[in-house]
Every structure is written in structure tokens, then in C-alpha cells.
Symmetry: C2
Subunit: 581 residues, 2 copies
């Protein structure tokens, strides 16, 4: 007797014809067709079609008749070629089928509440509650396999680059990111709390001080924030830090890493990734994470606007605001009046009080605002925006921030609506020369990144640039990093600019500042958001689709029903009770 | 001009003589010797000796004179052979030295409060407070590098075996281990709490139900327990789970894993690891994690003791207890009377009320208890214990549990004291056929492992064995696993035996039991304690020595001072306040 070779369903092909194989998996579909039961058997690798014919083996056929969707079985059979008319070119194993010889039902299954074998519109909350069924679907399986492949490639690359993987604590103290911490009450010290880390930032810097030179970790991080579509209370970061390296070295290391990741989705990472300064990114694209798959640059026409008769434009400029425009090429006829109205509402969400438009036509300019401009002014605008017949120019006048936000978001929305880019394209850029400080609403300086970011030059005012850099993919910040301050004197100056006095600095980061006094090397690093990276690579809509057991927007796990009530004695042990509501 | 090649200090050797090199690192030691300053420069890779001679370059010598311990420098120099009398065979780079050509002080350092360049007896709390300095020491650096190597080997092996690495949540619900959970208050749902996982047990089983077939994760786990010497509030587990695999396959996978890890410390994993049943392990070694580096088996002499005139022995046997002995070979002359008294105190800690001894001498038996035995009984005991002249036999009479605990611990203590094994030896064994249930103090059955462990046979009583297995190294449980129950009917029977009613089961593990109804494959797995494994491999005394930022026995981080007080508004946001004390 031939031995049955244990095989993965998806691995079978014409080469196996004649083989006796042993398979294990789930019944994806079962159908009965003229005395033959066809089973699509599914395992992690894919599907194979098994046949049980009443003519060949009546008893086996009878057993196979008991099979239902999602039953777990082990079987043996012989691989046969399908006849020409039965070949299924949609199915990777569609040239063969397996004639069942033995069958064992390992486990029965109730009818699943959501379909596993096709993508049906099912309420998200049902899918999350039955996540173990949803995870059986091809798309989620593909995403999680890709995620595992990405982390594998990351690790192998960094191991080869002499990085050490070092774990940093989860039960720790507040980290400097400044979002809301998750807290863990201490039982041994009632009234005291651990914080879950928002990043391993402080520890990775300490590891540099400790002389580990090249550290990485695929690290869980936590933020108790109000969740947006692509946020989770816990998320994962590819975190790395190097000593004695400059910005160029760190960025080329990350380039090397991405160059190894992109082939996992059949893409090549460019040899030369465009580099854009923060100032240019905001100026031309209205965003520090510009989507460069399409042009649609923001062009400043404030000078012309100031000379026009259009009161809203003039006044904005007089008050220190700006007027910018984008040129939507050949949009005449594509963008209806109602579409333009919808975009006006859209920019309103970002604070813009209006959206003006000019359509360039042969011998004609169609626009509600054209009459407020001289011919010369209109020509000037058109020239600056490289306007041609058929183009529509869109204008926003407001504060710098509102103009950039509104037009920056608008250019992305229009590009998506008008399909101005190939959705399969991956377009990276490095954004560099970030400002070291931002002004908060009360005019005080705050850190753009965190207070350990190294200035690029020796000033410590609002114009100071930082040795900070972000890697951006298709308009999404994949990750960012910086060189860090390693000399106590420079750190003092930055704290002074931030209005952090010595006592406050000591209270918050005293141990790190202490550490820097005992021989800190120059160092810097970067962190990449793993969830977002895999989401973009998988072309998924949400990071929930690349996380095995995600939480909802209200930070609940619908599967395990966490968070949950706890026994009063658990709280007592922690020295806690609920506040009077 | 020759270009300076960037090198790691520890990588320099005779082959580099004549080369111009560039080095970066920390001043490990600096000494001034007849107009020449000698600097031992340290980086992650090791040490190299640099010389700065006043004769060669007076200005450079003057700069080098400013160097102090732990200063961070960049320098260039030329590799020279040391003269024969200056060769340092203790130092891997001791055949060469580097004649300094340029020197840049990158950062100064205060005198460190603990010595980095040698192993001094320093208070543990000082070392933990200045962990970044302690981490510079060779031994800790070696341990963390080994830890990174171990995780690398683990991952590469499991990737090659077609395992997927899948992250499971940290903010989750109580898991079934039954130790005290760390809780995280929910802000969105005041009064509700997440639990940090004691293991990924439930999620890895759900991943098997979801069809992922081979999962692994190097997973952080949490237990809020009173900490013993080798426990930490957070610890790391090499966690794996497989579908469709039997015990033999899972164990041989783990054998393959360890076979790849052991060469990292120059050891070979045996082709055939001894297998011992739980019953034999407890019977012969008094422990379910027997140290097999030495024999010293526990031999039952209850039958002879029952027939003797020694009242304490007789009565113990009458009350259902046992009498067991170990034979310490050739101990006469090695174990003094006071040593024996100390061992008596030692076994007292495990509940034994006494320790009797018999020394076998030529034509003489020296023992306070010999007179209560007939010659025939003494011969019987001696024969059973393979007694020879010079041996000392040690007896404990008590309940089974106390005898096994006390003699089991005693055999290890004696073996250590008398150096009965090579401390460099690594001796593995598999312990198999664990009982499925244990009886608690009130006679109720509880799970030996967890309630999802599969019975080996069809009974569900206190004699039922479990498909559970532990891998043990030198008397320490490295890890354990089991096949899991995957059929609802069997799970019900186990719950019934445990006295867990349907409502309680649903409340605690409802989502897992639900999942098992929708097509659960046979599955099982194992988890290895990474901290303990690395500790044993590194021959470290505590897992604190293989963790970058460990906590004290009172679960504090002395470096960051976590846990810490939090602002009242943080508690208010969580709907919490401290209980009235």
C-alpha cells in the first residue's frame, strides 16, 4: 500500500496527480451533485476539492453526506486531474481534485453566524464578537500572514545589521509622549500606579547610555485616547535606536528595511526616496505627511488676492492670512456645480469659511469671483497655477493653518474622487527639518516631537529646526524619529525654552537626565507603526483588519467582553474604590 | 592618506596590524605610565588598548590626559603589535594596541557611583537604581546579548517550521491561570477593568479555532504575585500552539528548538532526552521537576519501618504516611554531625519533623536509630539503598507530600554542597503523564494545569492522567504544555468534575466554549519561560540578571521609581478614588 503523504490543501497541483495524500482542515463548502459529494476542504494554505462518489464507495459517501460547513476533518485520497470542462481557473488548485478514500470527522460545527467562505456585508460588531470565525476569511488570513512575514523580514534584517532585540518594561512610568496613560494600580504600594508605556522612548535612550549601541524591539505601546478610525488602545511599533549614527545613517537603515519589506507585496522600494522639508510639505501639500501620488500643489496667490476687489480675500490677507489655490486639471465637465458645493462643505469641516472656484474655458472664465479681478490678475493667477483650458482652480482664504488643513485635505479627496492616482501605487517620501517647537494656543513653546529631540542648529526659539525625520507613505506617516540630545547643557536650554524648570524636569525625567551625566553617546532612532504599515501594504481599510483581536472605537473587545467588572475584593486589595458618581 | 576604517574595539586582532582604524566607545580605564596614557576603550564588542604618547604628539597626549572613566570618545589610530612582554593573554585583543592619532571627546562623564569595569560587591538597590551603568558590565551585557541570540534562534526555527507570529492583546480579560491579575481601569467604561494576561492561553486556542494551525509569540505575561527570587511581575514566554499535532510532535518540535539554542552556549542538546512520568518523578526525586544531574533517589522503606521498633516511623506508616531515604555515597567524613543537624533544620522548612541518619561503617553501623531495627531490617534497608561502607543514609518519615518535598529539596542541597555534579552540565528531561486534577485542602478537585487540558483517558476522577508534559532543565521547569480539550462534551465532563457549573463556565470562558462549537481542530501547545531559560543558559543567579530593566521583590523599578503617585484628575477620569484606609 502506498503511504499517504501529509499535505497542505493549497499546495496541491498537477504535479501531484496520482499521489495518495492525507489532508486535514475545515469544510469550506459541500455540495451534492448527481451522487457525488464535492467538498472544498480549507486549511491555512488554501482550498482543495475532494470528491466522494456513491458509486466508488457507498459507505464513505454516506459519511461525507454528514459533513456541514466548518466541520473539521482528516481524510486521505488520491489526486486526480480534473477533466477539461471541470478545471477551475479561479482556484489555485483548480486543475486537480482529490478522490476521497478515507474520512474522519474530527469535530462537528454549528452553522456559523457569519459566512466564512465569502465576503458578506455583516455588521462589524457581529464580526468582532465572532472574531475566530471572521479570522477564517481569506482577507483577514492574508493580512495576518503578511503581518507575520513583515515582522520576520524586519527582524532578520535588523539581526543581520547587528541589532540586539531587547525587551523594555510594560509596567512602567509615564513616558514623554503626553497622551493619556493607561494606569495599573499597585497592590504592594496602594495608591501608586504603573503606567503602560506610550513608547519605549526613555528605555531605548537608557540602553544607548548603557552602551548597547544598536537596539530594536517590536514593541507594544498604549494610549488611552478617544479612538479614531485607525487608532487602537494598544498598538505595535518597530522601535529602533542607534548610537554614534547620524540622520543619514538612520534613514538609510530604514530605507534598507523597507526595501526588504516591499517585495512581500510585489513592490520595489525606490533606490532614491524623495526628501521634502517640513516647510515645503506644509507649503505645497498642506500636510506634514504629503501624499505624492498626485500633484495638486497648493499655490500661494495672496499677493494677487490683496490687490483684487474681492473683499473676503483682501481682508484675509490684511489680517495676516493667506490665499492659496489648487489647479484640478481637466476638471471642467468632471466636477459638477453640486460636486463643488460638496467640496465647499468638506473644507468647512477643517474651518474654511468658503471655497471659491474659477473654471478656465476657451475665451471665457466661468466663476462667481472672476468679476473682482482684473484680466491681468486673472492671467497672473492662471499662469502661477499653470492653468489651461478645462482646468478648475479652487481657492481657500483663511489663516495659514486653516488654508493648509482645508486645501491639504481637499487635494486628497479630489485626487481620490477623480482617480488621479493608481490605488496600487506606493509612494514614499522622507519629511525632514521639522520645527523643534510648536506654539500652543497660549503662545507657549511645546515640543513638536518630545523634549529630547536634538536641534539642528544652536538656537532655541520658534524658528529652530529639529534633527527629526518622518517616513511617509501615500500621505500616511509610517514612522518618525530624531537624533536625541545627549549633552546636559543642550538639554537644559531646550527645557528652558519649553518653560520646564529644573524641578519639573527632575520630577518627570530625572533618571534619564541623571543617566546622561555618566557618559551618554550621540544617538538617535526611529519608530515605525507596524499596524499602519501592514494596513497600507495589505490595502486594508482599517488597522482592525491587520490585528488578530482588535478593540472597538470604545476600546472594548466584543469577543472576550473586556473591560469587565471585577470582584470587590480585587479592588479592596488594590486600595481602590469607585468614585461616587 | 589612508582612510580610517570604522571598527569595533573587540574585533581588532593581529590581522589588523598596520591598519588605520576609527573607533568609538567608552573609556573603561585610563592610566598614565611614563609619559604614555593608556586607555582601554570599550564598546559593545569588547575592549582595545589605545596609547597616547607625549613624545609622539604632545597636544594629543594633553587632550588624552583629560579623559576619565566612562567618557565617550571617537578616535583614530594605527594598530600596532604589542611587544612580547606587553602581550595580555587575558584580553581578546591583547596582542595589539592602537597608537592614537586623533581624539574627540564626545561627552564627559561624572565618576560613576558603581564600577563598570570590574565586578564589585555593590548593594543590589544601588545597581538597580543605576541600571544603565550596571548594564555596561560584561556579565549583564553578555546575558542580554545571549537573550537576543536565543530569541533570534527561536524565531528563525519557528519561521522555518511554518509558524506564524501573531500578537495577542495585553489589555484583555482574566485568563485561566488563577494567579492574581494586574488590572487596568477603563476610562470609557468607569468601574470596569481590563486584566493584563497571565498567558496568551485563551487567544492561542482561539487562533487554532480560527484555522491558523501553527502560532507562536514571544509574549509578555503578567502576574501580581508576591515575588520570589526568580519571579517578576512581568515575564516573557515563548508561546506556541499547533493544530492537528499530537504530544509526540509537539515535544519533538520543542526538542528541535532546544537543539538549536544549546549551541549558543557551546552545548549539544541530547538526541534522546530522558522521559519520566510525573509519578516516577515525585516518587524517586520528590519533585515534578527532577534534577537528574545526580542520582540520590528517594527509596521507600515504609514496609521495613512499619516492622521496626522506631515509634515515630511506625506511627507515621500507621497513619498512612511513608518513610523514605536517600543514600549519600561516601559521605562518611564529608558530612559532619553539625552538617547533618543543619540538614535537619533544612528539611524542617518543608514540614519534616526530623531527619534520621545511618552511617555505614566497616563492621559497624553508626546511628541514633539503628538500635530500633533488627540486623535483618538494617540489611534490608541497606540493600534497598545499595548501601556500602562509607555511605550515609538519610530518612524522613511523614505524609507523602512532606517526605517528597523535604527529601526532594534535601537531595538537591546535598548534591550542591558535596559537588556531586558538574555545575556546567545541562541535563534535560521530559516529565509526562501529569495528573489531570489535584485535590485542594478541602478535598475538591482542581485543575493541575488549567481546565482545558485534555485527559489521556476517558475517566474524569482524581486518577485521570492528562496529556500534559513539562520540559525540565537541571531541576527547573523550563516550560510545559498540553493537548487541549476541543470537544464540548469532554469539556463539560471536566467542568463537572471540577464542580464548575454551566453558568460559571459561561461567565468565565463563555467565548472560548462558544468558539469550540464552530469547528475546533485537535490542538495543543507549550510555553517556555524565556527568562528562566536564558538565566540557566547564562548561569546567572536570578532572572533579574537576564532582564534589561527588572523590578525588585516588591515590584518596584528603582530606576524610574515606578509605581508612582498620579494626579487626582487622572483617578477622577477613571472614576476611581483610594479606599479609606
Amino acid at each position: 500500500m502506498t503511504e499517504n503523504i501529509l499535505r497542505a490543501c493549497g499546495s496541491l497541483s498537477k504535479k501531484d496527480i496520482g499521489q495518495r495524500v492525507s489532508l486535514r482542515g475545515w469544510v469550506n463548502r459541500r455540495r451534492d451533485h448527481g451522487g457525488v459529494i464535492f467538498v472544498d476542504l480549507r486549511d491555512r494554505s488554501g482550498l482543495a476539492q475532494i470528491t466522494f462518489s456513491a458509486e466508488v464507495d457507498a459507505a464513505l459517501h454516506k459519511l461525507a453526506d454528514e459533513l456541514r460547513s466548518e466541520y473539521v476533518v482528516a481524510l486521505t485520497g488520491q489526486v486526480l486531474a480534473r477533466s477539461d470542462e471541470n478545471i477551475n481557473p479561479q482556484m489555485p488548485t483548480g486543475e486537480i481534485e482529490v478522490e476521497g478514500k478515507t474520512l474522519t470527522i474530527l469535530n462537528a460545527a454549528k452553522t456559523p453566524p457569519i459566512s466564512v467562505c465569502d465576503e458578506q456585508a455583516v455588521d462589524e460588531s457581529i464580526k468582532l464578537r465572532y472574531r475566530y470565525l471572521d479570522l477564517r476569511r481569506d482577507s483577514l488570513k492574508h493580512n495576518l500572514i503578511l503581518r507575520s512575514q513583515v515582522t520576520r523580514v524586519v527582524r532578520e534584517y535588523l539581526y543581520a545589521q547587528d541589532f540586539l532585540e531587547i525587551e523594555t518594561p510594560i509596567l512602567t512610568k509615564s513616558t514623554p509622549e503626553g497622551a493619556r496613560d493607561y494606569l495599573v494600580p499597585s497592590r504592594v504600594k496602594p495608591g501608586k500606579f504603573y503606567a503602560l508605556p506610550q513608547s519605549p522612548q526613555l528605555f531605548k535612550q537608557l540602553l544607548m547610555v548603557a552602551g548597547y549601541e544598536r537596539y530594536f524591539q517590536i514593541a507594544k505601546c498604549f494610549r488611552d485616547e478617544d479612538l479614531r478610525a485607525d487608532r487602537q488602545p494598544e498598538f505595535t511599533q518597530i522601535d529602533l535606536e542607534l548610537s554614534f549614527a547620524d540622520e543619514r545613517e538612520i534613514r538609510s537603515l530604514v530605507d534598507g528595511l523597507l526595501a526588504r519589506i516591499m517585495p512581500l507585496v510585489g513592490q520595489k522600494y525606490p533606490d532614491q526616496v524623495p526628501e521634502i522639508t517640513y516647510a515645503d510639505a506644509v507649503n505645497f501639500y498642506g500636510s506634514d505627511a504629503p501624499d505624492l501620488r498626485f500633484d495638486l500643489r497648493l499655490i500661494d496667490i495672496s499677493d494677487i488676492a490683496a490687490r483684487s476687489e474681492l473683499k473676503v480675500f483682501k481682508e484675509v490677507v490684511e489680517r495676516g492670512g493667506i490665499v492659496k489655490a489648487i489647479n484640478v486639471k481637466n476638471a471642467d465637465g468632471q466636477l459638477s456645480r453640486s460636486a463643488l458645493d460638496a467640496y465647499k462643505d468638506f473644507v468647512g469641516k477643517f474651518g474654511a469659511k468658503g471655497l471659491a472656484w474659477i473654471t478656465l474655458r476657451q475665451n471665457e472664465i466661468s466663476s462667481p469671483i472672476a468679476k473682482f479681478f482684473t484680466k491681468e490678475q486673472l492671467d497672473g493667477i492662471s499662469q502661477r497655477l499653470h492653468g489651461e483650458v478645462g482646468d478648475i482652480l479652487l481657492f481657500v482664504a483663511d489663516t495659514k493653518k486653516v488654508v493648509h488643513d482645508a486645501l491639504g485635505k481637499l487635494r486628497c479627496a479630489i485626487a481620490k474622487d477623480l482617480k488621479l492616482y493608481d490605488p496600487g501605487e506606493f509612494k514614499f517620501c522622507w519629511v525632514v527639518k521639522f520645527p523643534l517647537f510648536e506654539k500652543d494656543s497660549e503662545g507657549r513653546l511645546t515640543s513638536t516631537h518630545h523634549p529630547f529631540t536634538k536641534p539642528l542648529d544652536g538656537n532655541y526659539d520658534e524658528n529652530t529646526l529639529a534633527a527629526a525625520y518622518d517616513i511617509v507613505l501615500n500621505g500616511v506617516e509610517l514612522g518618525g524619529g530624531s537624533l536625541r540630545i545627549y549633552q546636559p547643557e543642550e538639554q537644559q536650554k531646550v527645557f528652558a525654552a519649553l518653560g520646564i524648570d529644573a524641578a519639573a524636569a527632575k520630577e518627570k525625567f530625572g533618571f534619564l537626565l541623571d543617566a546622561f551625566q555618566y557618559g551618554a553617546p550621540p544617538h538617535g532612532g526611529l519608530a515605525l507603526g507596524l499596524d499602519r504599515l501592514v494596513m497600507l501594504l495589505a490595502r486594508a481599510e482599517s488597522i482592525r483588519e491587520v490585528i488578530a483581536f482588535p478593540k472597538t472605537k470604545s476600546a472594548e473587545c466584543l469577543l472576550t467582553e473586556a473591560p469587565a467588572a471585577v470582584a470587590p475584593e480585587q479592588l479592596r486589595e488594590l486600595g481602590l474604590r469607585g468614585a461616587a458618581q
